[in-house]
């Protein structure tokens, strides 16, 4: 019998990508050459040793913007995913464990939320709420929890029939202990991989929102850089060092979380 675990290459690659961006996000202030919001006289500057990725329409250093953008994009993506996963897991636990009216209500709510066009509602909400990181997170999370709830609910329903859960119930263990000790610990792989998927879809939604100019006010994420590159003539003038990097970063980060989420839940 082989004891050594086979290395899951996609998950490893995904983790490396995520780790890279997390480190960039943490050490951002230490590695940016310029203050990303500081303007200068050099507008639409080409890439040069001073400005690695050139400057934008108001003379801000694009490389520094990109580094700081990592922070905003990652924070919103991860924050929204945590909210989505927690809410989804909690609702799944309640509905599968207690059944009856609670289950009916939560399932109904899930079906309802699934019938709403997600991006449209998110956009509308962002428009009503004051722009800021928190409202973006709320708007992204509001319809995104449904998938997690559905998947986990059916998993918990199956777990409920397992002997070890039934025994705990029979000896009168408190619900909260069974949930924490047995249900959640058995589901942690699925929850984590759903969480990683949630990060990738939240980052995509955030990229779309801020591309439309509906992102967090005053905080430039990757999507927002692309927004300015597109609406301030970056594409028209063919300034590829302006619009290409945010696209690459967004896609790479989304890919990283997707790899971890998609291949993480398969049996190793």
């Amino acid at each position: 019998m082989k004891k050594r675990k086979k290395v899951n290459i996609p998950v490893l690659a995904g983790s490396l990508i995520i780790g890279f961006f997390v480190i960039i996000a943490i050490i951002a202030p230490a590695i940016v050459p310029y203050d990303p919001s500081a303007t200068s006289a050099l507008t639409y500057g080409k890439p040069s040793p001073e400005h690695l990725l050139g400057t934008n329409d108001v003379g801000q250093d694009i490389f520094s913007e990109l580094i700081y953008g990592t922070r905003i994009s990652m924070v919103i993506g991860i924050f929204a995913a945590v909210v989505v996963t927690c809410v989804g897991t909690l609702l799944a636990l309640l509905s599968a464990w207690y059944g009856g009216v609670v289950d009916k209500l939560i399932t109904g709510l899930t079906n309802l939320a699934m019938a709403v066009p997600g991006l449209a509602l998110t956009t509308l909400l962002v428009c009503y709420l004051s722009p800021g990181i928190l409202s973006i997170v709320v708007a992204i999370s509001i319809t995104a929890w449904t998938g997690t709830t559905r998947v986990l609910r059916s998993q918990i329903l199956a777990l409920k029939e397992e002997p070890f859960v039934k025994i705990e119930k029979a000896i009168g263990q408190r619900d909260i202990v069974i949930m924490g000790k047995h249900l959640l610990s058995n589901l942690k792989d699925i929850i984590l991989s759903r969480g990683a998927m949630a990060v990738s879809s939240a980052m995509m939604t955030e990229a779309s929102l801020s591309f439309l100019g509906l992102g967090a006010f005053g905080e430039k994420s990757w999507g927002a850089i692309l927004h300015y590159a597109f609406f301030r003539n970056g594409v028209v003038r063919g300034l590829y060092w302006w619009y290409l990097p945010p696209i690459l970063c967004t896609s790479l980060a989304v890919l990283g979380f997707m790899l971890v989420g998609y291949y993480g839940q398969q049996k190793r």
Partner: protein, 325 residues
Amino acid sequence: MGKYLIRRILTAVFTIYVIITVSFFMVRFMPGDPLQHLVGQEEYYYLLDTDPEELESIAEKYGLNDPLGVQYVRYLKSVVTLDFGIAYSNKKPVVENVFSCIHWTVLLSIPTWILGGLLGGVLGVLAGWRPGKRLDCVLTPIALFLNTVPSNCIGVLALALFAYKLRWVPIGGMTSGIGTGWVRTLDILKHMALPLSILVLFRCSGDFMLMKSSVSQVRHADYTTTAASKGLSDRKILFRHVMRNAMLPYMTSMCMQMGGLLSGSMMIETIFGWKGMGQLFYNAVSSRDFPTAQFCFLISAFCVVMANLLSDILVGVIDPRVTVK
């Protein structure tokens, strides 16, 4: 079947009712004066400065001083009669604005739906039927890759490459405003080419994955094994047994995709200056034109619910097992 049908229809009606209600309370309970959401931000501050009495009379006109219940009933009435007031942007009725855009969106989304559905379906069947073979090995990573790139990114890239660099297609818009008849049709087709290709590419990759997974599930079903052991040819197994069963989930999801026909192309429309529903919604949101934004949202939600209902009915017809509970 009858009972099933009635239950589905009631659920759909209820869903639409809840969505309408939520959108009513969303305006009333958001931070800020609801009046601000009704007359628009700029207009609101302008009036607040110059003419607070006018503002008060608008509030009176919209009945914002009435009890919430009265307001709610009035709102329901206005939704049913499709009376969403005047858009701030061009002072025309909101409904008129929206209906003048719909056909442009449909022009993009119906071909996307058909082409993406057919292409994705066929490729998906082929890849799922012979997993691990060349077609599967080439197409699956491409489809997975497309799922990780936000559509606005691909849109910007394609625009930069094909419209600005290579100058194969026009930069944006729907027509150059020249000619009539065939000349005009040809012109519109030219403008459509790039946005449509991108939309089809995305839809196709999604449908491909769907069909592939659906076929590969059926491939290991008992009846497939039986068909093979009877000595049927591969072709017969594929078309008679595998495809028929794999079609069911595919058909339902095609049906559900119809719900996104009006709201699914917002990004691409914005990038390519395609003046359809998506761009109207985007413009409404970015200029804080709340009545228009709200109506666009309600219309797209309505479409989604109707499409879901349609797919439920279709499943009931094709696979009567689901109608018995």
